[in-house]
Each structure stands twice: as structure tokens, then as C-alpha cells.
């Protein structure tokens, strides 16, 4: 177990190294010079040259990367071109709200997907099953930004049930503010979760031990919770873990739509303004998050399925 963990953790560094190269190069491939983005309409050739010199943008790209790497190793991810502040400070103060949003969305997603999938699996090929599947297929086709606006219009403007935009003042107020965006993300991700869970449940329902259980006279509720869900959830966990990247992607768009001060909206603004340092650091942080969740998914897999073992 320890060895396995150590091995997996050791792998994080090369992966992050790869991500750093991609993030570094991609943002520089986008047309548009950050010096011009900073100077805007007033960008004269002399001013551009001055700013480029200040930012080190006139160096060859490989030297810029080596600079970045050397500084990153010391924990310095550079200054934001726009705010003149540390990219790390600006990003880290926004991480909690994004994590909270992701977790909240995942929980709501599960709360929607698990009962629906169970119902659909138990009532396989019935009208209920078809209705649930049709509903979720429709949901997956709706763009999140549109869904977000419609939900806001219905649940925040028409019926003033939830707060709209921002992150509130902490505690319950924050949860109240995050409910709509979390619901939007959850609706976006739940079709995938629902379908994965439904098919794994059906597979389990067809296995012999369920028939045996039924023959032994176990109560359906016991059977459902202790045997069906327990075994059906195992493959589902990996689907959930694999989709964390998807979940984070959805969060970025939704943060922008709802004006939530998380890393997602920071990333979008920084891409638009070519604030290289922030884009690089946020990408690294998000990549780290995906790697971490994948690792935890594998651990959870072992917890749910005794056949999976990390010991040789």
C-alpha cells in the first residue's frame, strides 16, 4: 500500500512537468501579445517594446521556459502582468470556492444520479426507465451556460429561491449562493453518472448471488443496499473519478456565467488578457487536482472491492 502510494505520488512530478510545458506553450500560441493586452488602445511600438522588455517576452521561448521552470522550482510562479501581484497568491485565495463548488456539484450530481439510476435499473425497460433515460439524454445536449441562465431566470428571478452570482459572505450564505451553479454543473454531469451506474447495476442484478439472495428470502431493501448498490457502485466510482476533469471544465464555464470568484473565472479572464503567469499556475493547480482525485478514486476502488489489492 505504502509502496503503491509512494510510486503514484512520485509520478505526479513528471506529469506536472509535462503539463507545465503544454500550458506554457499553448498560451503563447494564442495570437495576441500580452504587452498589447496590457497597454490596450494606447499601445505604441515604443511602449510595447518597453513592456516586452520588462516582462522578458523578448527572450527566446526556450529561455523563457527555463526561467519559468527555475523560478517554479523555488515556488515562484511569477507576477500577474495586470495586478503586479504573485500568481500564487491570486490563485490560492480563489481555490477554496472552486473546490467547494466542485464538491457541492458532485454531491448534487450523485443525489440526482443514484436514485434515478437505481430506479431505472430495477424497473428495467419499463416506461419509468425510458422516461429517465430520455430526460437525461436531453439534459446532456443542453449547453451548460444556457442551462445556467435558464435556471437563474426561473429559480432566482421568477421565484427568488436562490442567490445569483458571487460567493456570498461565507458559511451557509456561500452554500446558498453556490446552489444554482452547483445544480447546473450537476445536471450537466449526472447523465454520464446515471448511465454508468444503471448499466453496472443491471450487470449486478443479473449475477447469480442476487438470484441466490432472492431465493434465500433476503428482504429486497437489504438486497438493494448491501448487495446491489455496493457492488454496482464499484465500477461507477472509476467513472466518477475519470469525469473529474469534465467536472472541473464545467466549473470553469459556470464560474464565469455566475460570476463566482473562483479559479475558473480567473483562468478565463487571464486567458483573455494573456496573463501568462496566472494561466500557467492555474493550469498546474487544476492538473494537480485531477491527478489527486484519480489517485483517491483508485484508493476508493480498493475500499469498495476487496478483490482489488495494492499488495503484491
Amino acid at each position: 500500500m505504502i509502496r503503491y502510494l509512494a510510486g503514484r505520488l512520485a509520478l505526479i512530478l513528471p506529469v506536472l512537468f509535462g503539463v507545465s510545458i503544454v500550458a506554457f506553450m499553448l498560451i503563447r500560441l494564442i495570437p495576441g501579445n500580452p504587452a498589447v493586452a496590457i497597454l490596450g488602445e494606447r499601445a505604441t511600438p515604443e511602449l510595447i517594446a518597453r513592456v516586452e522588455n520588462q516582462l522578458g517576452l523578448n527572450l527566446p521561448i526556450w529561455r523563457q521556459y527555463l526561467h519559468f521552470l527555475a523560478n517554479a522550482w523555488r515556488g515562484d510562479f511569477g507576477l500577474s502582468f495586470f495586478y503586479g501581484q504573485n500568481a500564487t497568491t491570486l490563485t490560492l485565495e480563489r481555490i477554496p470556492i472552486t473546490l467547494l463548488l466542485i464538491a457541492y456539484a458532485a454531491l448534487i450530481g450523485l443525489a440526482i444520479a443514484v436514485p434515478c439510476a437505481t430506479l431505472a435499473a430495477v424497473r428495467r425497460e419499463s416506461a419509468v426507465d425510458h422516461l429517465i433515460r430520455l430526460g437525461f439524454t436531453a439534459t446532456i445536449g443542453i449547453p451548460t451556460f444556457w442551462l445556467g441562465i435558464v435556471l437563474a431566470l426561473l429559480l432566482s428571478v421568477r421565484v427568488r429561491l436562490f442567490a445569483l452570482g458571487g460567493a456570498g459572505t461565507g458559511g451557509l450564505d456561500t452554500l446558498w449562493h453556490l446552489t444554482l451553479p452547483a445544480l447546473t454543473i450537476a445536471l450537466h454531469i449526472s447523465p454520464i453518472l446515471m448511465r454508468a451506474l444503471r448499466s453496472s447495476l443491471i450487470e449486478v442484478m443479473d449475477s447469480d448471488y442476487i438470484t441466490t439472495g432472492l431465493a434465500m428470502g433476503l428482504r429486497p431493501v437489504t438486497l438493494l443496499i448491501s448487495y446491489l448498490l455496493r457492488n454496482g457502485l464499484t465500477p461507477f466510482i472509476s467513472v466518477l473519478g475519470l469525469n473529474v476533469g469534465w467536472l472541473i471544465g464545467g466549473t470553469i464555464i459556470i464560474e464565469q456565467v455566475f460570476g463566482i470568484p473562483g479559479v475558473g473565472s480567473l483562468l478565463i479572464t487571464s486567458i483573455l488578457t494573456r496573463d501568462y503567469s496566472i494561466v500557467q499556475f492555474v493550469t498546474l493547480v487544476l492538473a494537480f487536482l485531477v491527478i489527486l482525485v484519480n489517485l483517491l478514486t483508485d484508493l476508493a476502488y480498493a475500499a469498495l472491492d476487496p478483490r482489488v489489492s495494492f499488495q503484491r
Binding site: 498589447v36 503586479g84 458571487g166 460567493a167 458559511g171 456561500t174 455566475f258 475500499a303 476487496p306
Partner: protein, 512 residues
Amino acid sequence: MRIRVTALRVVSCFAAVMLVVPAAMMSPRPSAGAAAVTLTMVRNADMLTWDPYHTGDDPSIFTQMVAYDRLVKLAPSNKDVQPELATSWKMSPDGLTATFTLRQGVKFSDGSPLTADDVVFSLTRSIDQKSDWGFLFSPVKSVSKVDDKTIAIHMAEPFAPLLAALSTFAASIYSKAQFDKYGEQMAQHPLGTGAFTLESWQKGSQITLVKNQNYWQPGKPKIDRIIMRVVGDDNTRVLQLQSGQADLIDFVPPNQVQLVRGSGLKIYAVNGTAVLRYTLNETIKPLDEVNVRAALGHAIDRQAVAKNVFFGLAAVARSLLPETTLYYDPNADPLTYDLAKAKALLAKSSVPNGFNLTVQLPAGNQTYLDTATIWGNGLKQIGVTLKIDRLETTTLIQMRNAEHYTVFNAAWTNDTPDPDELLGVAMDFKSQHAAHTFYNNPEAQRLVAQARRELDPKKRQALYTMLQRIESRDAPQIYVVDVPRLYASSPNLVGFAPNSQGKYSFEDVSKR
């Protein structure tokens, strides 16, 4: 079994950490007392700096105008100035020295007194030609302290736009002691005499301003706290206003104005802030011919743009100057929609049967695209085929600055009520090749310089009328419409009256 238990613990710990830690880290901010009045404004972008020396973006300009005061402020007419930190001023007979008497008893928001030294220090930074806005004060040589109540501004030549330039954010007055303490970091730590002062700033998401307890105007401001949140999405800002979570929003999309009005909310259209115009590059043939440029200028249906693109909220432009600018003259032979005239002008050129023209627009800007489409329809009728190229914004600005464009479309934000800033760039070849047009007219240059020096308003009016007439005749830039800046608020907000410089005037705002 051991592994299972460990892993279960890991998973449950992770779930707990995911929810609890972020929630705990966002500790509740202290809430204001029950009687405190808070105004929530939602803007489309955050400000970037509190230092006027390095400011380029509108959100910074507008917010700085809340926390800092200036010697003079723009009158409600937008055409004159009124006393602010200066109570009176006097120009020397030779027009080379202006002396300002300072208001007494004014304090910074931290309680320290405003002194003549603070004023001299701030203005000396303003006139620094290396600063972003030094050009506004180019004839100013120095600023000096006369005594504790008086400062003097010394100029190399008579400079008529002085008071207008002093009303801009670029001439904001701030604390010298604060700058000595923080240096360039004053960009994060402002200290001014304005009605509100900075309490906290979460970059990119929220600014909280609180009432300046030492504000010099008795009984003002009437609100205790202003929260400025950033929401980039146009629809969300409108929805937040409709749901009552915002008192005030900026950048209302023109196509939603009717809807917002219909739901009982207030709309504010601030005119005189910008003129939408096409800048023509005269190094590209046949744009070097005056008949061609004028023909292009007569081929755009400005009425249709105002009505269809801006939903009737924009006014047809009749000068390169916004209509609230000093010496604006709508009757100086403006360019109007006249296809017969356009055809006749083109007939006199080297391309009587028309030609192909390219306009470069920023990608994603529907307003500019719709406007260009209307222009294209008019041009088609005089034989000119308009090709619309859409490019990423910063690439486009770079192309314009490198002067590798054909036709560039922009709206100029008006910083001063004086025409010198705009015409001084647009009509003077020495200034960025006349706004990158390569328009080179010695007569226009002479008039620009003369109008800058002329202190008699009547004579200045005549000079600027001549300049506007020349601009319309030679059409280095083709003006289209006066674009308003759009705000919306809840019906309970009283006294909100932003001016053409973008000053919100929060000191007069109250909530019912």
C-alpha cells in the same frame, strides 16, 4: 481488510476535506450594522490599479474618481468645470501661470490633512511626460507651492484645455505620505479625499469601498458602503439586477434595454462618452484620395445604425467630437447619408466604378459587425465591395499600431470635455501619424496648435468649427454614431448621475 479500512478512511477524509476546508477558509466577512446602507454594483470588469500614473482601463479610471478628488470637477453640463479641491483660480495675463486657491480643512480618509505639498506632488506626477496620461498636460512645465493655501501651474505656452485636463482622473490628488510609504505599491493602497475609501479588494472579483468619515462635503455621502462585484457575463448582470441582488449594473446590452425598462428598473444612457468611427489608412490606395474617403463617409446609413444596432439609444454623429464636447458643432457641413453625393464624389476619383475595401473588426463584437454590414449595404450601391475581416482583439490593435490595417473600427472614450485631446491626435500628423491614418494636413496642424493656445472661448469656437469642417470634408476618419454608456439600477436608487468621464458621483447617491 486492513487496506479496506485505511482506504475507506482516506475517502471519507477526502470528502470531508473537500467540503469543510473550503467552507472554513471562507470565513464570513464582518457584516455592517443594521442601519448601514450598502450599495451593490455589479460591473463587467475589475479595476487594475489605484495609481493614475499607470492607468489605462476604464474600471480603474471610474473607481479612482470615487476615492480621489481633483482640483476641479466637470459641471453637470459636461462643458464647464466647477470647484472641487480648489475653491478659486486665476490665470496670469500672459496665460503662462495659473494659481489655485486650495479648499481649507480637507482631510484624507485616514484623518490626515490635505496640504499644498500633496497637491504639488500628485500633479507633478500627472504632468510627467513618461506617465500614461502626461500628454494631456504637455505644455505644463511645472507645479509649485506658493503658500500653504495656494499652488501654481507653470506653462511653456498658453494652454486653454488646462482646466478640462485637471478635471480628469489623471489629475487626481492623493497623499504624498502614502506614496512615500508604499511607492509603486500605492496601486494597491490608495489614500485620497474622495467620498469613499478602499476597505478591501479581492482582485478580479470584489472591491469594497466604505464611507470616508472625514469627507469634506457635509452630510455626504449618504450610503455607508459600496460593494463592486465583477460579473463578466452580460445576461447574468441583468438577471442579478432583476432578482434584486444588485442595485446597479454597468454595460447593459443594448438589446436588453427595453426588457429592463419593462420590468420597472431604471436605465441610464450617458451620452458624449464615445463616437464610433472608421479610421482609414491613407497609405492604402485609393484611401489617399479625399474624394474616395468622403464618398465612403456619405455611404453609411447612420440612422439605421442608431436605430437597428443600438436600438435607438445612440445618436447619429455629426462630428468626430462627441456631442457633449466643448465647441462641438453639428452644423459644420457634417457627413450625412447621401448616396447620390457619394456616387458623384467617387466619379471624380481614380476609381469611378468602385473598388474592393477591407475593414478589420474585433472578432466577437456583434455591434461592430452589424454596423459594418449596414455600411457594406450602402457601399454596394456606389460600387464598393466591403470585405469584413474579423480578428482577435489584441492582434487587431497590434495591426493598427503597426499601421498594417486598411480600415479600423473603434469607439473613442472621451476623457476630457475639451476637444483638444481628440482633435489633437486625430488631426495632427505629428501625433501617432494622426491616429494612424497618415492624414497630413499642415493647415489642420496649425489650427490644432492655435486652438490649444487660444484663451478666448469665442475664437476657440471658430477654430474648432473650422477643424470639424475640415475633418468632415477630408474624412480621415468616418464618424458613425455617438455611443452611450449604459447603466441600469433598481428603482430605489436615487441620485446616480454618471458623467461623460465615467465619474459615478456616488457622493450624491442614496437608497430609498
